[in-house]
């Protein structure tokens, strides 16, 4: 199995990873960088638990071949609080609106919502629903999640 060396930006830091060329972005983030916030829920790009942001787009990292990440910018759930540890408005809103139960979908949900708010700071409810349409939640019923994104949109400058 041939290794590949990729250099990219991870949560604002320049990094290099040398991993088997068949690894996905998800596996690299979880195993090489030990950032286990992104989860493998299905391994086939359908559940959204693995969602991270690459160059501004929410992507299913379980389907993202690691060689493609060269030169790009990746943000995971571990990178959205600021350096002092203050939670991102989305993280605060998910907590305050009971948008979290078991928490397994949460990192993916927040990353999908963040990709939306970064591009559309004042989304309509339909836009929010579309942005999380690739993220499954078996616990909450989605209502509190949508309300959390709405609250975060109001507080996000």
């Amino acid at each position: 199995m041939k290794n590949v060396s990729v250099s990219f930006t991870l949560n604002g830091d320049p990094v290099t990873a040398e991993v088997p060329a068949t690894w996905t972005l998800l596996k690299t983030v979880r195993e090489y960088f030990e950032l286990t916030g992104a989860k493998e829920g299905c391994g086939s790009g359908e559940c959204g638990c693995c969602t991270v942001i690459v160059d501004g787009d929410a992507v299913s990292s379980c389907l993202y071949p690691i060689p493609e990440i060269e030169g790009r910018s990746v943000t995971t759930i571990e990178g959205i609080a600021n350096k002092e540890g203050t939670l991102h408005p989305l993280q605060k809103a998910f907590l305050e609106n009971n948008g979290v139960q078991c928490g397994f979908c949460t990192s993916g949900m927040i990353m999908s919502a963040k990709a939306l708010l970064d591009e559309n700071p004042d989304p309509a409810e339909e836009d929010i629903r579309t942005s999380i349409s690739g993220n499954f939640c078996r616990c909450t019923g989605y209502v509190q999640i949508i309300e959390a994104v709405q609250m975060a949109a109001k507080t996000n400058p």
């Binding site: 979880r30 950032l35 286990t36 916030g37 992104a38 989860k39 493998e40 995971t76 759930i77 571990e78 609080a81 939670l87 989305l90 993280q91 998910f94 907590l95 305050e96 009971n98 979290v100 928490g103 397994f104 949460t106 990192s107 927040i110």
Partner: protein, 168 residues
Amino acid sequence: MSDYLYVGKSIPRTIETDKVTGRAVYMNDLKRPGMLYGKILYSRYAHARIKRIDVSKAKKLQGVRAVLTGHDIPDVRVGFIKDQRVLKKDVVRQFRDEVAAVAAISPEIAEEAIHLIDVEYEEIPAVFDPLEAMKEDAPLVHEVDARGRPIRSNILPLPWKFLAAETM
């Protein structure tokens, strides 16, 4: 009515901060020194007799620490009606009946070991529909019950009485 401490208030839960920051540790996030990875070999047939299980090649694979079949474990039965053995050694009764288990030093080696296990099945007729299963000539899912007594029908006489509402 006096003001309550908790009733009528929104009480923040205590562990969710770790979940929104990605710090919460779930089963697959855990790593421990010397840990092993397990994989299961599942049945390829819905209903079949197991004639032979050969784990010799799987056991020899470097990095494999254990390979277990139904022959290696006590005859414990689990399940609601105690109809499930943990690993099946005589008959498999559904796709995804567990036939063997491997423990190895990496998930990739465990997966390779699974592929090295050779199982010889004799397929038998299966039934996939509850109405079909209730027919007199339907293939029996179980031929004996948990105590070894012969079963004659897929319809089990459960010792409870159900009170059902009338349907209009």
